[in-house]
């Protein structure tokens, strides 16, 4: 059209931010209750239902990687120093960047929605199968193990007041139309908080606009986007206003998912020794240049139930794709990495370790004073600040003393049900939960978070509980990960609405049978291709 170079002329000026099939939602992992044929582990990777629930995007591959290792405790519980944290990070880094031979399950669909599932580096070797989507089916492995699989649409198993979380961190795009050119207008420089701040008109609940932030957005007013107040907001009855509503923002929503129930011995050659299975997921999108080179899947795969693979071939396949998203721990992205694309590192998130400390301290200055104002004890050292503070750190050295206890305290469980065998298993601590960014399933537990992640875990509220002081007591019992889900706590607190921050259960009941996640909701105007 013109005689000058103008790439934008025929392309997008603004990045298109439509829902993408590459957007990973959650990774669940827990030991199966069905042990009839030996121990099994359930792994479910969920992602955006694009183009539709039950119809997967042929340009994507999804990877689920896993390693098995013994349960270790490091550093000892009494060591709460920056040095011990850094040593821990170094040790884990060496493991994940060194001679780590992760096993991998890789999946992609073809245009006819048949799924190719490739297994790499398992004790039985590498092989692949081609299977139907939206069907519960068995995959018999070369070594006579049987994997149960489901690839397709389901109800979104995540139940969460996401707008509440975004209100707590003053995340503008949830509440405002933020111009594409204003990339800085995301988390606005207002104290993060669990209780509304007096005069924080940019984010405080507006009774006249109950849907604000839940679909309805305002135009972003001109800056400065700051807060000048000095106290939490209280109503005429002296109650604080909770930024959370307890309403499930994911109700009625669908996902696409890869759900697998895998015999532990298929993953783990020494199941008696290696009681931890670390799992993480990745989404990759086909590069444009390779889209035009696409050739049909190897005929061998189409004619035979499974074909043996050369493990060396997997990396050449991966070179045709681009990593987009990773998933290991819930909230590792949103709460700790600020959702930046260049921090999508998955298990290899070691270089974020210093950022993790600084970010946790930044969050602590917001959530810690909120917890104190409610009369509860916090693990974060905020110098008895009467109100949330917006504070960022440029050095780990400055941030660490504030966050030391939050980082190192063992996270108490509400009772012993997580440890059905009554084994001597140490409680997990935040630093080891988030670095590396994997779902570490302890096979001797129920797999409830943080010993894995079960479907029914309210992980958003458990994440907030990291900022509670686990040495303190409520009603004669040590603080624990489920305490903020206790309705009686909120009934007694000077706060409205009187609700736990997030819903206590999913909008649809989970099944006690595979594939466990509930059936998908009907999508208006779309006829799914279920078989």
């Amino acid at each position: 059209m013109a005689d000058h170079n103008d790439p934008n002329a025929v392309n997008s000026i603004f990045s298109d931010i439509d829902a993408s099939a590459a957007d990973l939602y959650d990774l669940f992992g827990f030991p199966s209750s069905d042990t009839s044929d030996g121990e099994k582990v359930v792994i479910a990777l969920t992602f955006a239902a694009v183009p539709h629930a039950g119809t997967l995007d042929p340009d994507m591959i999804y990877r689920i990687q896993m390693t098995a290792e013994p349960r270790v405790v490091h550093p000892p519980a009494n060591e709460q120093s920056l040095d011990s944290f850094l040593k821990y990070v170094e040790a884990v880094k060496d493991k994940y960047t060194g001679a780590l031979h992760a096993s991998e399950i890789r999946m992609h669909v073809d245009e006819s929605q048949r799924a190719t599932v490739e297994f790499f580096n398992f004790p039985e070797g590498s092989f692949s199968v081609v299977v139907d989507t939206n069907k519960v089916l068995n995959i018999d492995t070369p070594g006579k193990n049987r994997i149960t699989a489901y690839i397709g649409g389901r109800d979104d198993a995540f139940f969460n007041d996401l707008p509440g979380f975004f209100r707590s961190i003053n995340y503008a795009p949830q509440f405002y139309h933020v111009p594409h050119t204003m990339t800085e207008a995301r988390e606005l420089p207002i104290p993060k908080t669990l209780l509304e701040l007096e005069g924080n008109d940019l984010f405080n609940f507006d009774p006249a606009l109950p849907e604000w932030g839940r679909g309805y957005k305002k135009n972003l007013p001109p800056g400065p986007w700051t807060w000048k107040g000095d106290k939490f907001r209280k109503d005429e009855n002296g109650n604080f206003r909770f930024v959370y509503s307890g309403v499930d923002a994911q109700a009625g929503k669908n996902v696409n998912a890869i759900i697998l129930e895998i015999p532990v011995k298929f993953i783990n050659p020494a199941p008696d020794k290696n009681r931890i299975i670390n799992v993480w997921g990745e989404s990759w999108v086909l590069k444009a240049a390779n889209k035009i080179e696409t050739i049909p899947d190897h005929p061998l795969w189409l004619e035979h139930p499974f074909a043996f693979l050369d493990p060396r071939s997997k990396d050449s396949e991966l070179q045709k794709y681009k990593l987009v998203d990773t998933d290991g721990q819930p909230f590792a992205d949103a709460a700790l990495s600020e959702r930046e694309d260049n921090r999508q590192l998955g298990a290899n998130n070691f270089f974020l370790a210093p950022h993790f400390v600084k970010r946790l301290a930044h969050l602590g200055w917001g959530f810690g004073p909120s917890i104190s104002a409610l009369g509860l004890k916090t693990s974060f050292d905020h110098d008895n600040s009467p109100v949330s503070v917006h504070k960022t750190y440029s050095t780990v050295l400055a941030a660490f003393p504030r966050v030391k206890k939050t980082l190192f305290q063992p996270l108490n469980m509400p009772d012993n049900s997580w440890n059905p065998k009554g084994l001597n298993i140490a409680l997990r601590r935040p630093f080891e939960i988030f670095v590396p960014n994997v779902c570490a399933i302890d096979l001797d537990t129920t797999g409830t978070w943080p010993f894995g992640r079960r479907l029914e875990d309210q992980v958003a509220t458990r994440f907030l509980s990291m900022f509670l002081d686990m040495e303190a007591e409520f009603k004669g019992k040590k603080y624990h990960l489920e305490m903020l889900n206790d309705q009686s706590l909120w009934d007694a607190a000077p706060i409205v609405p009187k609700t736990p921050p997030n819903p206590l259960k999913n909008d649809r009941d989970f099944s006690d049978k595979f594939p466990y996640l509930a059936e998908p909701h009907p999508e208006p105007g779309y006829k799914p291709t279920y078989k």
Partner: protein, 394 residues
């Protein structure tokens, strides 16, 4: 969607989107987000369609939106893109200043660098493009730098940068991929490497099927190979979809070389009418084409000089200087033509087409032996130089 090309599928998606976006964009109170999405989709449709008249609708809606909503940064950025696309350099600069901070955003800095390029300051443009790539290694920033390298004669570096640009693109951006493939094809075509150019155009076509822009490039290449019948067939096909005057002129060129003077003249008249109507409306987009037209289709030195002068006032760069040199050459003002082509050459641009033109002009001016030098250089770089100088995209 079976049977539809990628182009048709995307055009249809834009139309459907516009149907959905129009009512909320027109609602009161006005939502900046809805209006921006709507006007942006209008712009995307116009850009993909290729019909310049659609941009008039975009401009009207965009100006209306800015009048009602104020200088919102996204709207100003869109306006800057539109003005730049239509060669309105001064207006583009003004658009970027309308919204505080816009010029400092990554998109704003990219257009600012493009302006510097259009103003012929290739050294500074290079620095700005390199800084952009350093900060954000996006496909379009890499393509900008690649284009500059190509103009400066570093073909290998340019192609490598285009390869890197492609590596940033995913299967969800096939139109952009096709565009980069066209640039790679153009690079080969300019140096007479026609088979390689065909390969890239074929990849572009496979990546994004049914796109008139790809067909137009293929027709240009066939014309350069003197495959006139094939080229004419494709041009006619493209013109049915996109009645662009420069394609009409290109078809006229083909007819003339085939000895079909009447058909050629019909095409030229149609092209000229659109060029002049546009200029009458105060648009500057076709100035460059008018210079070409009066140097080539209807040889008229006075008219060629008039439009060349107006174009160079807007964008004083090696392209507009070379166009002015052609007009001066046609007017028999050989010394001035030589001075002007030397100015174009002093910019650092090294392209076979420019050397060929310099050779002709210097030869006509006579005396210094540079004519032979440039003709030899042009022949070395492109042994297959065609009578068809493809002036529509490069």
């Amino acid at each position: 969607m079976n049977g539809l090309t990628d182009f048709q599928i995307e055009m249809r998606a834009f139309e459907l989107d516009l149907e959905d976006l129009r009512p909320p964009a027109m609602a009161h109170p006005m939502s900046a987000d809805h209006v921006t999405k709507y006007v942006y989709r209008l712009y995307q449709r116009a850009a993909l369609d290729g019909n310049l008249e659609l941009f008039q609708e975009v401009e009207a809606e965009l100006d209306g939106a800015i009048a009602r909503l104020g200088a919102a940064p996204d709207l100003c950025l869109l306006k800057a893109n539109l003005d730049f696309k239509l060669h309105r350099v001064a207006e583009t600069k003004r658009d970027l200043e309308m919204s505080p901070g816009l010029a400092e955003t990554s998109q704003g800095r990219a257009i600012s660098a493009d302006i510097v390029f259009q103003e012929g300051n290739y050294e500074k443009a290079g620095q700005l493009y390199e800084a952009l790539v350093e900060k954000e290694r996006t496909w379009d920033n890499l393509a900008r730098l690649a284009h500059l390298r190509a103009r400066l004669g570093d073909v290998a570096a340019a192609d490598q940068l285009y390869v890197e640009a492609e590596d940033e693109l995913t299967a969800k951006e096939m139109r952009s991929f096709a565009w980069v493939e066209l640039q790679r094809g153009l690079l080969h075509s300019a140096y007479g490497r026609f088979p390689q150019a065909h390969e890239h155009y074929d990849r572009a076509n496979r990546g994004y099927s049914g796109y008139w822009l790809v067909k137009e490039h293929i027709a240009n290449l066939l014309a350069a190979e003197h495959k006139l019948e094939q080229a004419a067939t494709i041009y006619r096909n493209v013109l049915q979809r996109v009645p662009k005057p420069e394609i009409q002129q290109a078809l006229g060129d083909i007819y003339r070389h085939m000895g079909k003077q009447r058909e050629a003249e019909e095409c030229f008249q149609k092209a000229l009418a659109v060029y002049l109507q546009s200029a009458d409306r105060g648009e500057v987009h076709y100035y460059h084409h008018l210079v070409d037209f009066y140097c080539d289709a209807h040889r008229d030195a006075e008219q060629a000089l008039k439009w060349a002068r107006q174009d160079i006032e807007l964008r004083n760069n090696s392209s507009t200087q070379a166009a002015m040199a052609r007009a001066l050459h046609l007017a028999g003002r050989h010394d001035e033509a030589r001075q002007m082509i030397d100015r174009a050459l002093s910019s650092g641009v090294r392209e076979p087409g420019l050397f060929l033109q310099a050779g002709k002009i210097h030869s006509a001016a006579g005396g210094n032996g540079m004519g032979e030098h440039y003709l030899k250089l042009a022949a070395e770089l492109n042994p297959h130089h065609s009578a068809f100088h493809v002036h529509h995209h490069h």
